[in-house]
């Protein structure tokens, strides 16, 4: 079943005086896995409900394959929704829940059975067909609601935080299952979540929303590696955000920034700046290398070296999170991935003196205040 493209065109939505969606425009390609990511209250669920037809817009248009669907009621749209709390019909068995949309369409009993059996197989719930929703676990309930939503063969599947009610391990499993399901049914998925890890792990494209505005649109790599502003940098993954003044322009690519509590470092010049501008620099904790011995600059690659003392160690098995106090007293987050057997190494411990090293490309400007 082929999916549809969805176009959101300059949509405005108010709840009373509250401006929930502010002139939102988005292009969602056919058959892609698209995520709407943002904190609670950013308008992402409202946008999903508008596509489903459960909310009206105050202005703007929603197109499905270039045709407006705004005047269609929810039951006439080739779009189905997975609700956060499953919304299974408690009075019907698993089989009857999945058959529900098919019975509405008055399919023959044998056709209903053929389709429901196929869907039960798709979500691996064959042996639970006769159970009531109350007898299922959270993950099973969500798989029933998936099968039920797919029964109508929608062009677009809308998923409203479908895994957020599950525990961490199950969440991972269901995400992988969703990804496989997307590959198998090949329709457009629009996935709403506040969990950045979920969004960047399975999406083709992500739109980051904040306060009713799309603040960044792009592939997961673009969103993570090149956040558009402070909000995105903070919201997606973790980062060290530092405010400093530009003291020297090295080239088109690099600048020297002086941080009051940090010293001078070389940063990537991804935005036009001049000397004396105040800039906000972001640096991902996993991009910093941590070592006992001072690194010797080799083959002319400019690098930043900072000296500090280990202030906090959080060992997590696959990685260790260090909080390093620089000589000036600033705390930098540094995450070290353990790619080798740790016990053979000289392990970095609390109170150790360490050197931090990173490539200037990894510290870049997110915001500029001109002086």
């Amino acid at each position: 079943m082929p999916g549809s493209s969805v176009s959101i065109i300059e949509v405005d939505k108010y709840f009373g005086d509250f401006h929930v969606l502010k002139n939102v425009s988005l292009e969602i390609e056919e058959n892609e896995f698209f995520s709407l990511l943002g904190p609670s209250g950013c308008g992402k669920t409202t946008l999903l409900r508008i596509i489903a037809g459960l909310e009206d817009v105050d202005d703007g248009d929603v197109l499905l394959d270039d045709k407006s669907i705004l005047n269609l009621p929810p039951n006439k749209r080739p779009v189905n929704t997975i609700f956060q709390n499953y919304a299974l019909f408690p009075h019907l068995s698993v089989y009857e829940n999945i058959a529900f949309p098919l019975r509405l369409k008055k399919f023959s009993e044998s056709e209903i059975k053929r389709r429901v059996d196929w869907l039960l197989n798709l979500v691996r719930l064959e042996e639970h067909a006769q159970k009531k929703p109350s007898q299922l676990s959270g993950g099973q309930k969500q798989r029933v609601s998936l099968a039920r939503a797919l029964a109508n063969e929608p062009k677009v599947l809308l998923l409203d935080e479908p895994v957020s009610a599950l525990d961490a391990k199950l969440r991972q499993e269901l995400l992988i299952e969703l990804d496989n399901l997307h590959d198998r049914v090949g329709i457009t998925f629009i996935y709403v979540t506040h969990d950045q890890a979920e969004a960047i792990s399975i999406s083709d494209h992500v739109a980051v929303m904040n306060s009713g505005v799309v603040v960044q649109y792009g592939t997961p790599y673009e969103i993570y590696e090149s956040p558009a502003d402070t909000f995105v940098a903070n919201f997606i993954g973790e980062s060290n955000l530092m405010k400093g003044d530009v003291v020297e322009i090295l080239s088109d690519e690099y600048i020297v920034v002086e941080f009051p509590s940090f010293g001078r470092v070389i940063c990537y010049r991804d935005k036009p700046v001049k000397v004396d501008d105040t800039v906000l620099i972001t640096l991902r904790p996993e991009k910093i290398r941590i070592m006992h011995n001072k690194p010797t600059p080799s083959d002319g690659v400019p690098g930043n070296v900072v000296h500090g003392i280990v202030d906090e160690v959080i060992y997590m098995g696959y990685q260790t999170k260090y909080f390093i106090k620089t000589d000036e007293g600033y705390i930098l987050k540094v995450y070290k991935q353990h790619v080798s057997y740790l016990l053979d190494e000289r392990i970095i411990k609390w109170k150790d003196e360490v050197f931090l090293y990173w490539n200037p490309d990894d510290s870049f400007i997110v915001e500029v205040e001109e002086n």
Binding site: P73, N75, T81, F83, H91, P101, L104, S145, N152
Partner: protein
């Protein structure tokens, strides 16, 4: 071991509930179970013509009611109770739904409960004041010249039905309100999303999920309506006497206490059968 001791104390404090429970049990036995047994016993004793009974076994009470041909009264009682329960549910389902999703939910619930603060006799007299031959509506109709002589709104079965529905509607609204409130609103959205029209949402999702509430509402109206006395007494006509009125008549006017007890016993058994049928029927459908 202090900790074990403390734990035992905490656990045994649960029996406090049992103490309170036993008080209620004693209350029920004294004021409900024993009177019911007395009524059952009276129905098998001999009539004393002064009123009261003579302690001698007799089936005359039951024979009297068959002779008096109460079958029509019984049937009328069941039909009127059934219709008023049905009307109450027809009104209460949409009303409860509206209240659950209203912004004024608490205020509207208060309005439903407020009539309980007033004596039911006074409320029936209020209806007489409104609907009576010299009542408010008739005055208006006469003064405005729409009718020439008063319209007989009360002293008939319709008036009995109207006031039964009015009296027992809150008993239907409250259980339906709680069963609709328990349902997630997303169920209705999911149903629309899956292709239901609004009508189909009502019949395929809302109704099946509030079956238990409908059964409770029906029982809460039907059962008290079976035993109603004051309403037909005050606003009923010659042909709207119900079982409750006959019991009172046998007790006070005919002074046939065994017969009154016999009618009460039959009503009691009918009621118990009705409750079992409704509740068991409702549960059976629920677990299918």
């Amino acid at each position: 071991m202090t900790s074990k001791h403390e734990r035992d104390e905490v656990l045994s404090s649960g029996s406090g509930y049992e103490k309170y429970g036993s008080i209620y049990l004693i209350w029920l036995v004294i004021f409900f179970v024993i009177p019911v047994i007395v009524i059952l016993a009276y129905s098998f004793l001999t009539r004393d013509y002064q009123g009261g009974i003579i302690l001698k076994f007799s089936l005359q009470g039951y024979k009297d009611i068959f002779n008096l041909n109460y079958l029509t009264v019984f049937i009328r009682t069941v039909i009127i109770s059934f219709i008023s329960a049905a009307i109450c549910i027809l009104i209460a389902v949409p009303v409860s739904y509206y209240i659950v999703y209203s912004k004024l939910k608490n205020f509207l619930l208060l309005l439903v409960i407020i009539p309980f603060w007033t004596n039911s006799l006074i409320r029936i007299y209020a209806w007489i004041f409104i609907l009576g031959n010299n009542g408010l509506i008739n005055q208006l109709l006469l003064n405005s010249g729409i009718v020439n002589s008063y319209v007989k709104f009360i002293y008939n079965n319709a008036a009995v039905l109207l006031i039964l529905v009015y009296t027992y509607l809150p008993f239907a609204i409250l259980p339906l309100f709680s069963s609709i409130e328990r349902l997630e609103k997303q169920l209705f959205e999911a149903a629309m999303d899956l292709g239901c029209t609004k009508r189909q949402v009502f019949f395929k999702v809302l109704l099946p999920n509030i079956k238990q509430g409908i059964v409770s509402a029906f029982v809460f109206v039907f059962i008290p309506a079976l035993g109603t006395y004051a309403v037909p007494e005050l606003v009923g006509g010659k042909n709207s006497r119900l079982i409750g009125n006959e019991i009172a008549r046998q007790l006070t006017i005919a002074r046939n206490w065994p017969a009154a007890a016999a009618i009460s016993s039959i009503l009691l058994i009918l009621t118990i059968i009705a409750v079992i049928v409704f509740i068991y029927g409702g549960e059976k459908r629920e677990t299918r």
